[in-house]
Amino acid sequence: MSRGGRYWVLAVGIAAVGGALAWAFLSMPGFGGGFHPYRDAAVAAALRHSTANVVSSVNFDQRGFDTLGEETILLASVVGVAVLLRPLPGERHRHGRQGGHVLGTTRMLVVVAVPLTLVLGIDVVAHGAVTPGGGFQGGVVAATALHLIYVGDRYRVFARLRPIGLFEQAEAAGVVAYAAVGVAGLAFGGSWLANILPHGTLARLVSAGTVPLLNAAVGLAVAGSVVVLLSHFLDQRFLSPPPGTRHAPGDGTQP
């Protein structure tokens, strides 16, 4: 399709979707109103299970099954990236190349920041049921801590601290642990992912039953998958481009 034709299709699509959206917006409850029936039900359910952070309660208790699906999406995308970014025939690993110059102060800052960030990430995971945050946020923060070493241009240190196999296993272990809590709920509570542990006191670190456990499982899975995901993109830098013609050898499209 030509560029002009594409813009015509775009204009028709925007007009149609825009019309439908305008229709929907006009018949929706206005912004900032007090009509939230799902909220009323979700907040009551969270309080029944002593979960101070209602968002965590929704994610890990009330619709915990959806979160397992989300973790599976994460796992699938990591596998997909690994397959897409595998070295092509003819691509070689170049090792030992360090990048440009890094200031001494940056290195100092990295040394201080790495443990702090790691602790912060674990703290965010641990308090998922009580304060803002949880497995997803904390897992990403913890994974970021490792990559600060990369910012400090210590690729060799970084590569040693980052045994990819271990992180792949951590990711899988997180997903398995989540499913295990679900099976335990089925065995002892009568339904998949039932909140079978004592609920404890609201707003305490150990409260909300299985929510902290599921948070930890998700934190492990997310930290593992972010590290693995980024590693595939980072390692592209150390792959020399395939030699030869316009087309990579073996892709079957040579004219």
Partner: protein
């Protein structure tokens, strides 16, 4: 009304960006922008004037406490949305890198003239 219009406008900006794009990486970023319109829509639907974040400091004493909180359900949905957006973006970027390796271009218009 304005918040909903902003959410719709962000979606359309992203879609327009994809249609105009001459670079696959640019198109992927525009897709991420289009999806961010859904975050804005979800969260503005759940907002209530004067209400606070759906997190308790201590057990509520009186009934009707729920009416002082914004909707946690849409917030949970938005969290999922953000994670899914990140996974989609990383997959598509890996695909763009792969296309650059095999076809030596990331311009969708040039790609059409190639087979494969």
């Amino acid at each position: 009304m304005y918040p909903y219009v902003v959410a719709g406008a962000i979606l359309f900006l992203g879609v327009i960006g994809i249609a105009r794009s001459r670079n696959l990486v640019h198109a992927v970023v525009c897709l991420a922008v289009a999806q961010s319109g859904t975050y804005v829509l979800l969260l503005t639907v759940g907002y209530q004037r004067g209400a606070t974040a759906p997190i308790f400091q201590s057990a509520p004493e009186k009934a009707g406490y729920a009416a002082t909180l914004v909707d946690p359900v849409v917030q949970a949905l938005t969290l999922t949305d953000i994670v899914v957006s990140a996974t989609v973006t990383s997959m598509l970027l890996a695909l763009a890198v792969q296309i650059a390796k095999r076809h030596d271009t990331v311009d969708p218009d040039e790609l059409r003239s190639l087979r494969g």
